[in-house]
Symmetry: C2
Subunit: 418 residues, 2 copies
């Protein structure tokens, strides 16, 4: 059997299951999620044995300690997955939600109703918890899932996939509501991306290489989850203490994530803020890479290179640049943005409103830490990821973003005459 | 210059213009539309001269009379485009619309606000009016447009593109808010589909071949506008007169469009409806292609072939099949659907509700003609097309569907602590 045929079998099974899952009640979908949590606890030993094989092979293959840590499952991590399932069940049912309704002059009643997308493909790298998290969010929204994880996590993913399939079966749903591709041939990614007869959406989660491999091959719609080049502009005037605390939180609270700030622009008339912010960060151990003017104004600053302005450090490093106007800042922000998160810290309401309106990013903040770009923090519930695309879903994606809609039209014999 | 470089120049200009158009006021966008209508009237002679060249070449190239008719511009058609512009201006502004707003427990205020997508590529075939209609809807929604029309309409499209560019300039907007690719090399379509650094969306309008050429090559998100295999199920019991009138309207009122019915399923216990519907249609000149049971029950019925059930006739022909249950009808509907329009005609409310819930199509109707699948008929305003996709927009697409959203977050120093 070719790789194409093997992937097609998985995709087709998920497609068939989706026609049943699509109309399943919330009770039934929740029964599958409840059972998943139970099985995660009951099958701990079996799952950890599968994970141990992946860990051993990973060590033999010389994976970095960071990668091995991402790959690792333990009791605590399994328990976290089970708890996350309970949280997903608390999100209001996205299926059947009436988005809008109205009556036309001819009396026909139109309802725009949220319905499942169908089959969602998830392509991801090393973390096996994505298997549970992503599939659960898809089930919650009435979608079947075709999962393709990293080859290094194959045994863990298959063990978790079995949990999901058994849970679906226990809830009276087809096992194929969740399918995990059971072989690691790299060609499977490109094949999956072309299966538009079975898949309604692919969400690739991972590095730039993985995402391009999907996008370049895809005939299935793709919602990309790329990098976050978070940027902050500190205006000519601002609340100094608040600004120091906001930049500190945006950089230091968790530097390794996509909503941690990477580029900071400070108005040239606000050297007080520049000095206070930089001093605070340096005291916390953040390395400052500055433009020439920044390096003149503060001590211990490393000159920034051209690449630094486009680098997502994900580390205790910050690029800092002095600008002469908000316009200059907004031009630089547009040049270096990943379109995800940008903030202005100012006490000038007019500037704040202009910045919020004109900066073209998924999340724009005034006097709030950039760290809030997150489905949970927004109150949307657990997230399947953060879209850096503009089509269908932008920014944090939770269960509502895993639905589409249909128009339900009721009447009593209305016909069209023109 | 390669085709790639030539297309990239157009795309890049549109991209640059989009950053200005994106934040233009409704007044300014409407000024461009008003001026477009004025210029369509003032430049009639010039536009018709350009169209005459296309018509002459089309005749020399042996285009069919149907294609020549689609290509033709005249005073009346130009006036229709101008009138359509006035209608577009009556649609409420989709830009800046507050989709939702809420306050988080920490006091930060989140607004989900509709904003333009950026640059929209439209790839279409012979009708030059699409140049005006599509670009105007994009301008209304704050988007720049990159247009690639059919090679047979190149002179007409360029003349209309000049109208749009002059109108944008008169409104103080960049000319490049609308760009018409000025050469007819077929490779331009594939190149355009790959320009995800400049384009946010491509809408291909045309036949299956064109749409596949875009989808197979695209790295830009695509919303397909494919065929409509409209289907109707007549239930075991129904209002007979109403059903006859509804099927009649669905088939006969305008047979050449995507919401005209192509497949009809009738419950085997409702032979009365079958006979009445078929007799009415035959009297109007509709050819009936039936399953064996249909052919037994009614006179003048042509036996349907396997392909007939998947054929969008767009003509005075209807496939008719007798079924023994609604379940059988829904299975057949799922098998032959294009996912756009399906209807049930019944007086059984329970069956109606089940059909509306379980049939997975963009528009599902109970006792309403299928001919209402249309942005104008739904009250959405003029439409850029009808999406057969599920991502971002499903069914009739008007100006709201040409926007994305962003989250605007206002606070007073909120930081994240966990």
């Amino acid at each position: 059997m070719t790789v194409h045929e093997r992937v097609a079998e998985f995709a087709q099974r998920a497609y068939q299951a989706s026609s049943i899952l699509r109309t399943a009640s919330e009770e039934q979908r929740h029964a599958a999620l409840t059972r998943t949590a139970e099985l995660l606890r009951a099958r701990q030993a079996k799952i950890l044995r599968a994970n141990a094989i992946d860990m051993e092979r990973g060590q033999e293959a010389g994976l970095s300690s960071a990668m091995l840590d991402r790959l690792l499952l333990n009791e605590e991590r399994l328990e976290k997955m089970a708890v996350a399932l309970a949280e997903i069940m608390e999100i209001p049912d996205p299926v059947g939600r009436i988005i809008e309704e109205w009556t036309r002059p001819n009396g026909m009643r139109i309802r725009k109703v949220a319905v499942p997308l169908g089959v969602i493909g998830i392509i991801y790298e090393s973390r096996p918890n994505v298997t549970i998290d992503a599939a659960s969010l898809c089930i919650k929204a009435g979608n079947a899932t075709l999962l393709r994880g990293g080859s290094e996590a194959i045994n863990s993913n298959l063990a978790l996939g079995e949990v999901l399939q058994d849970a679906c079966q226990a809830a009276g749903l087809p096992r194929s509501c969740v399918e995990v591709i059971d072989f690691t041939d790299r060609a499977a990614v490109a094949e999956m991306a072309k299966m538009d007869q079975y898949l309604n959406l692919i969400i690739p989660r991972g590095g730039h290489g993985l995402i391009r491999a999907v996008v370049e091959n895809a005939t299935v719609p793709v919602i990309k989850h790329e990098r976050g080049m978070t940027q902050i502009y500190v205006d000519e005037t601002c609340d100094l203490d608040m600004t120091v605390e906001l930049v500190h939180n945006s950089k230091v609270q968790r530097p390794g994530v996509c909503n941690a700030v990477e580029n900071l622009y400070v108005h040239s008339k606000n050297t007080e803020a520049l000095r206070a912010v930089v001093t605070d960060l340096q005291q916390t151990g953040v390395e400052i890479r500055g433009c020439p003017r920044t390096c003149e104004l503060v001590d211990g600053c490393v000159p920034a290179t051209e690449e630094d302005w486009d680098t997502e450090y994900l580390d205790m490093i910050l690029s800092v640049r002095v600008v002469d106007s908000m316009d200059e800042a907004m031009t630089l922000i547009a040049q270096h943005t990943s379109g995800l998160t940008e903030a202005i810290y100012t006490d000038n309401e007019e500037n704040a409103e202009r910045f919020l309106r004109e900066v073209d990013s998924a999340c724009v903040y005034h006097n709030v830490s950039t760290r809030f770009t997150d489905g949970g923090q927004f109150g949307l519930g657990a997230e399947i990821g953060i879209s850096t695309d503009k089509i269908h879903a932008r920014g944090p994606m939770s269960v509502r973003e895993l639905t589409t809609y249909k128009y339900v039209v009721r009447g009593e014999g209305q016909i069209r005459t023109s």
